[in-house]
Amino acid sequence: MKLEIDDSQSYLQGDNNIISIKDLQKYFQKTHVLKSINLQVNKGDLVSIIGRSGCGKTTLLRCMNCLEVFDSGTIRIAGITLSRARTEAEVSRDIRNRTGKIRKNLKSPFRKPDEDTELDEDFHIKSQILRTRVGMLFQNLNLFPHLNVLENVVKAPIIVKGESHEQSVHRAVQLLDKVGLKDFIKRYPYQLSGGQAQRVAIARALAMSPHVMMYDEPTSALDPELVEEVLQVMRTLHEEGMTQIVVTHAMYFAKTASDTVIYMEDGKIVESGPPEKIFSNPRDYRTKQYLSSIKE
């Protein structure tokens, strides 16, 4: 099968948009979670997504990584274009047909991210490749507990990319050095603090040489004094030109480190712009309300 994958990194020239999202829609059963999201991210930008719980920011991130499959719209990330067009009527008919199955699947931790929807082979393979180009970090420190720090980092490159053991160990040590954990490579995850674990997770994602890094509330499960060490790693990556998208509640970080801040509410992007503008002079009244509510 011939896949239309733009591997030439031509997105680096052109319009410089490494991420481009058009009219993205997502339903969870009957709930309309994402309502026509449009988003462009330039290469090397650090984008913070803020908003109340339940506004759809985590879902947006998960759709961009295909952990959730969106219902309609187009996503182009790092040269891979995924596109679907299911109308609202199709989605609701689907829901009626599959309610029982979904209910069953929701109980199972093994639900395939894309098994509720009819997807062609092409989409599967593309989303697979997309995930190798996007590094993802989760809120709840999903290190593999049965592997030590080094094994955590080298596992995916060896399995997925077929790298040699020496090669990936060499890289892993460099990356762990970068996040300040070179002396911890023989430790197991249970022997690490939350901040250290999150930094290992960053190194693990970087080992796949991603084009984009995404973080889903990377610091909200951490003790306050450990937050800074994780944010520092992200700042360093920013300086090196890594494109990063962060869903965060750490306003201080969003304000000082981001190039762009996006405020979401009710499944829509309400406002986006440079942090100075969003934080000191928001245009939309909803943004104002939200920002004043967290200041108190």
Partner: protein
């Protein structure tokens, strides 16, 4: 990965099958006869002096017939109730074990001409009075053997509380302990199990007429003719009488059957030897010596138990893994099938499954295959425990947090890679303790395979108990052996548990 597992499973199957076929040498000149060594004296039973050696008047008879035919008689163990079924399965060529010639049996199999005629005998306790005829038994609790002529006579009489037994020694035990008022069984059994017992006595006139014949398949007419001719020869030459005299079984019915009314003055050597071993008070030393003499038999049986258990557990572990992967990850028809398998196996008794595999599978048209007792035992136990292992694995899989799968997938792994490298290794740790539990449980459940003719520990215990009327000492012995077999595996599981516990804080100290 699935492929590797499949091949592993196949290899084990092929290995065990070829191992079995090596063991079962189907030599042309061997006459395989089925008999239940537990059914006891004086038919076919273990020599109390050397329990590995079978003796009995039927052993003498079949050896004489085989010698006449230029063959070698080889005993195949089977439960008395299942003797005819076992022959239909071609586990052996003929059955000889006090099988009465009855019209309903003759519909299914061929009988040789009778080799022995006898009658039913009432036995009661020494202190009982007033029981002499069948009519005296009305309203009483009367023990007898299941599926025997005596049982039919008792039921036909009506008004008798009939209690069926599988082992004759247990019916006489119950009579002695007062749980029964009388026992009605074939005269030779009564003679050998009650006749010498000071607590019991034989009473009343002969009831009914029994003729024992050798059982053959309907199709084996050639062999039937040969055996009939042999029996005729033994009748004429006086050899049959010599055998019966030796066992003190010569009676008035045989006198007229052989038309031989000469006085009997044989010393009944075998009967006397048997009596000498019964009812005697044993000293502690002779008892110990006897128990030690059991050890080789128990050792052999323990090996059978152990090999069945290990191979069955391997089957369970691999099949269980395949079943759980199908159930959790496969698309719908397959996953439903896996669920159906688990529910069916868990919802039906293991004993029924064993009978089904051993006796019912071979008779299914076209796909019916005859499998050896060992393979049937291993398949029965293994497929049964596979269902339980599958559920264990499922619990293990569910114990791995969902985030692990997502983290693996977002690193670019496919679901199969994530399963193999991330999920299964973590799940395995959770599964070790319940799996150990199941293995110990399987070790004990393996005693059930004695119903499909496997001679394993429990079966040997039963045989020895029946031979010596001693269930206490051998019982303790067999319990200790089961414990000893299980222990190394419990230790092994501990070691594995420690090894696969990545979080060393979670190791529970013993």
């Amino acid at each position: 990965m699935k492929n590797k597992m499949k091949y592993g499973f196949l290899t084990i199957l092929i290995l065990s099958v070829s191992f079995i076929s090596l063991l079962a040498q189907n030599h042309k000149y061997i006459l395989r006869y089925g008999a239940d060594a537990e059914s006891g004296a004086p038919y076919v039973f273990q020599d109390p002096k050397d329990p590995k050696h079978l003796i009995g008047f039927e052993v003498d008879l079949i050896n004489a017939i085989a010698e006449d035919l230029g063959m070698k008689a080889v005993h195949v163990q089977n439960e008395w109730d299942g003797l005819i079924m076992g022959m239909e399965r071609n586990d052996y060529d003929i059955a000889i074990n006090g099988l009465e010639i009855t019209p309903d049996r003759e519909e299914k199999v061929n009988f040789s001409i009778p080799y022995y005629l006898t009658y039913e005998q009432i036995a009661i306790r020494r202190d009982q009075e007033g029981i002499n005829t069948l009519s005296d038994l009305i309203g009483k609790k009367v023990g007898t053997l299941n599926n025997s002529l005596a049982e039919r006579i008792l039921r036909a009489k009506g008004g008798i509380d009939v209690r069926g037994y599988t082992d004759e020694d247990k019916s006489y035990n119950d009579l002695e302990y007062g749980r029964l008022d009388a026992v009605l069984i074939d005269q030779p059994v009564a003679l050998y199990y009650a006749g010498w017992n000071p607590q019991l006595k034989l009473t009343g006139q002969p009831i009914g007429e029994i003729s024992y014949g050798i059982v053959l398949r309907k199709s084996d007419t050639l062999l039937l003719n040969k055996i009939n001719r042999s029996i005729e020869k033994l009748k004429k030459s006086g050899k049959l009488r010599t055998i019966l005299e030796k066992w003190n079984l010569w009676n008035f019915m045989m006198e007229s059957y052989l038309d031989d009314h000469t006085e009997s003055n044989d010393p009944h050597t075998a009967y006397q030897e048997y009596l000498a071993t019964q009812g005697q008070t044993t000293t502690f030393m002779t008892l110990m010596k006897r128990y030690i003499s059991f050890l080789p038999m128990f050792g052999e049986a323990a090996l059978v138990t152990l090999s069945i258990s290990i191979v069955a557990m391997l089957v369970a572990v691999f099949v269980g893994l395949i079943v759980v992967l199908l159930r959790v990850y496969a698309p719908n028809p397959l996953s439903k099938l896996a669920t159906l398998y688990i529910e069916t196996i868990r919802g039906t008794p293991l004993l029924v499954q064993l009978y089904f595999i051993y006796y019912a599978l071979p008779v299914i048209p076209y796909i019916g295959v005859r499998i050896s007792p060992f393979v049937a035992a291993v398949l029965g136990l293994g497929l049964n425990y596979a269902a339980y292992e599958a559920e264990n694995y499922r619990a293990g899989l569910f114990s791995v947090p969902r985030g692990q799968m997502e983290a693996a997938i977002s690193l670019g792994m496919t679901r199969n890679q994530a399963l193999r490298h991330i999920i299964l290794p973590q799940a395995f740790r959770f599964v070790i303790p319940p799996m150990t539990n199941d293995f110990i449980s399987l070790l004990k459940d393996s005693s059930l395979v004695s119903v499909i003719t496997m001679v394993e520990l429990t079966r040997v215990y039963n045989q020895i108990g029946a031979t010596y009327f001693d269930y206490l000492g051998p019982g303790i012995l067999v319990a200790v052996i089961y414990l000893l077999i299980g222990l190394p595996f419990i230790r092994l599981a501990r070691v594995a548990e420690r090894k696969y516990t990545y979080d060393k804080r979670k190791i529970i100290k013993r």
